[in-house]
Amino acid sequence: MKKPMSKLIALALATIMAVSCLTGCGEKKGSGSGSAAGSEGGSALIESKLGFEGEENEFGWVKPKETLEINVYAGYGDMDELLKDEKGGKATFDKWLLDNMNVKINWQYYSVDMDEKLNLMLASGDYPEVITWMSDDMANKFIAQGKALDITDYVEKFGGNITRRMGNYYNMLRSDDGRVYKLAQYWGENPNVAGLDFGARYDYWLELGDSKIYETLDEYYDAMSRILANHPTNDAGQKTYAFSSADKAGKNLLNAPLGAYGFVNGYKKNADGTMTHWLNTEEGLKVAKFINKCWREGLIDPDFLSNGYEEYTTMMTNGQLLGNMGTWWYAWTGGHQAWAVSEGDDYDVKERFMNVSVHGDGVKMDETSLLTSNYIGTTRCIITDKCKDPEAVIRYINWENSELGNYIVGWGAPSENNVWHIADDGTWVVNDEILDVDIKETTYHAIKEANGGELYAIATNLNWLKNDGRSDFSHIDPRVDRVSFYDYWPVDPETGAFSNEGVNICWQYYTAPALDTTLYTTTFNPDDEITITKQTIEDKIWQEWAKMISAESEEACVAAFESAKSAMNALGLADLEKYYAESYKANLESYEGK
């Protein structure tokens, strides 16, 4: 039995080998031709055959004779949701695009993880002309294999708005060879969203009768202790806490105080351009001691390591969590946005979390890094080698990045039925009823959505401020101070305060300035040693951090800090410090166009 058996197995294996070799050869051919096409793109401009002739129309667009069709893969999403309403926002916007621009956009979502899908697309060679919302890392993978077109010359010739409004930041998109293969998606100055917060229940804080808002970490600790003493349990009789975490590691409890000391990504930038990891700084030790004190005094939820986002916001909603150290908007979704709905008419505007900025010892508020803004954003758009008419696509993206294009793509087709329209004098007016702050939260987004706002954004500027010096504000409604893709903030022209009382309560004590962190962007190649080092250290650090937080005495906390410090340095922290410093330097150089 044995002998023929082994022969049989050998025979079977040989067959399999043959079959797989055949399939392997097939693969080779396919991808080979793909990369060849990619390298051609850079040399000469392919002129568009759609017929971009004549003058710009009132929307600043040269309408082509033939319809420009763009196929876009835009990451994770639910096509059922997009297509569900045949007469909804999508139809309105599609019609507007076709009538006024002669453009048709085929938007594609897949309900699978974007990175996963992109890897499969790369492997099978089956991807559309334009991919957006991808991570910088994935964009680089496409570029490395010659599957993203070199668009440098197209942008130079047809992308005036992109280069004008990006300014020097455009250089940061360049590859090592100085060419551009990717564009930024959702870029621009965006200080509203990425902010760290030292929030507290506003109504409870008022009860304290403090004349002045807390401004340092210690004052914050003091205020939160007193609030907690006043409200030891919530309505349901559960014990209350000042702080918790939503990331299963207590990262927010470190990042927020480090932000109060001006650290970026956990590193302190020294005057000589070097970077020091927080474990190697005095401020780091202070933060560890501070959080450990909060823990020992019972301010921190003992189950903070088990909570995810939903458990965290549930604790806020049911009154178990009275402060918010970390991402500011958790306090909105878990706080007043939930209460306003569930309490309806009984809701009191003071019942909410206020967002507050504080600074560390020996640091001024201006030196904090609580509010950060990455100008080129974190997501990218590429035009792939499948695209036959890069000129037309760049023309369209360029239009998208005009001031008016921003408005249309962001807020939907202009009309009296939408949240905005174009007045006879050419001003882009926000419709009056939308400016009524009382109904803004409920109506603004719904109306905008019904008109196709925020539906298709391929590589768009997200928002712009009056003082950025690169954008043209001449057509904008004077009642609006800052324009963003997704929202607007009407401001009282006399006081400069937000017209909405609730929004104003939330933000009145947030005085930290926005820090531009674009140059701190650091990328890690998955196969490099430094990436492994970084991942190992990060893994370890959060384990050590949990020990520092929950140490039983200050001495034990300091001991945990010191042991973490020596362990991490042994794992190669110095290499990481160097890597971060170097990539900052490299970013600065490319920003300056060197």
């Binding site: 979704t333 939930a338 997501t379």
Partner: protein, 300 residues
């Protein structure tokens, strides 16, 4: 489950055991039902109110809204139909083929049985991974077809071994005498093996059907156009929202996604709608679990 001729002497110990067993099973039932019960009450509770937490045994603010939301999704009926079709076709084809293979590999006189078994057992431990499988299906033209639901699962090594072990427990003389009578192997499989193997076939049918009903990843991956979307996938998209929202890179997108997140209650309602139909598969198949006692009859 025992044969009808089985009797117990009702000793005291036996009675005590019966009672203890009964009480234990009741407690057990509570522990097993509770997670499901919890999802049920959450699904009937108002979405925003659920954010307050502390829901244990009864909804606080009763509502049908969550179910309305779920049932408003389009194509639910079509999805349900495809799901049922998938379950039936995949379960029947897989059981038939795997069972046949299992039977063949238990025939002692068959020379290739060890070889076949090894070839299949290897596949239990070594597999190709996502990308090669994806490329293979593309080459075979299985993308965007119904075939991709059942063909790749036609034979299963694990089930082959289970059915095989069951057949090995049967008296060998049954098949042997039929063979001597000149019956073909397929006929033996149909007339003798399948009827005798009802319990194991029923058990595996439950497992395979549930597996197909619950599977969604292959649908999203290999049928991304949505032409053959199953019920599970229509609803899974609701559940995936939360998972994906947490992965978003752009802070702005994340805030919006979280703000518009479907509530825990809607997700619970979704879980209910997806799993209730398939829960009844088990009770349906349970009657086939009583089959072993007929061996004697066949033998005679």
């Amino acid at each position: 489950m025992f044969g009808p001729k089985t009797f117990y002497k009702k000793s005291l110990g036996s009675k005590v055991f019966d009672w203890l067993n009964f009480i234990f099973m009741l407690l057990f039932a509570f522990i097993m039902i509770y997670p499901f019960w919890n999802q049920l009450i959450v699904s009937f509770n108002e979405g925003v109110d659920t954010m307050y937490g502390n829901l244990y045994f009864w909804p606080r603010k009763f509502t049908f809204e969550n179910y309305q939301y779920v049932f408003q999704r389009q194509n639910l009926a079509k999805g349900a139909l495809i799901s049922v079709l998938r379950c039936v076709v995949a379960t029947v084809s897989s059981l038939f083929c795997t069972g046949l293979l299992a039977y063949v590999t238990t025939i002692k006189a068959f020379k290739g049985r060890k070889f076949m078994r090894i070839i299949f057992i290897i596949t239990m431990y070594f597999s190709g991974g996502l990308i090669p499988t994806y490329l293979l299906y593309t080459k075979l033209g299985l993308m965007e077809t119904f075939t991709v639901y059942w063909l790749p699962g036609l034979f299963g090594a694990y089930n082959m071994l289970l059915i095989g072990s069951y057949i090995a427990g049967l008296p060998e003389s049954l098949a042997e005498s039929a063979r001597i009578d000149g019956a073909s192997e397929l006929k033996i499989y149909f007339k003798i093996i399948i009827p005798l193997c009802k319990p194991v076939f029923a058990a595996l049918a439950v497992m395979i059907a549930v597996g197909h009903w619950n599977s969604w990843f292959d649908v999203l991956l290999y049928n991304s156009s949505g032409k053959w979307d199953t019920l599970q996938v229509y609803l899974r998209k609701i559940l995936l929202q939360a998972e994906q929202a947490a992965k978003l890179q752009a802070e702005q997108k994340m805030y919006e996604a979280m703000k518009n997140l479907t509530t825990t209650s809607i997700r619970a309602a979704t879980t209910m709608v997806v799993s209730l139909p398939i829960l009844f598969v088990y009770p349906f198949f349970q009657k086939y679990f009583v089959g072993g006692i007929t061996i004697g009859a066949v033998k005679g």
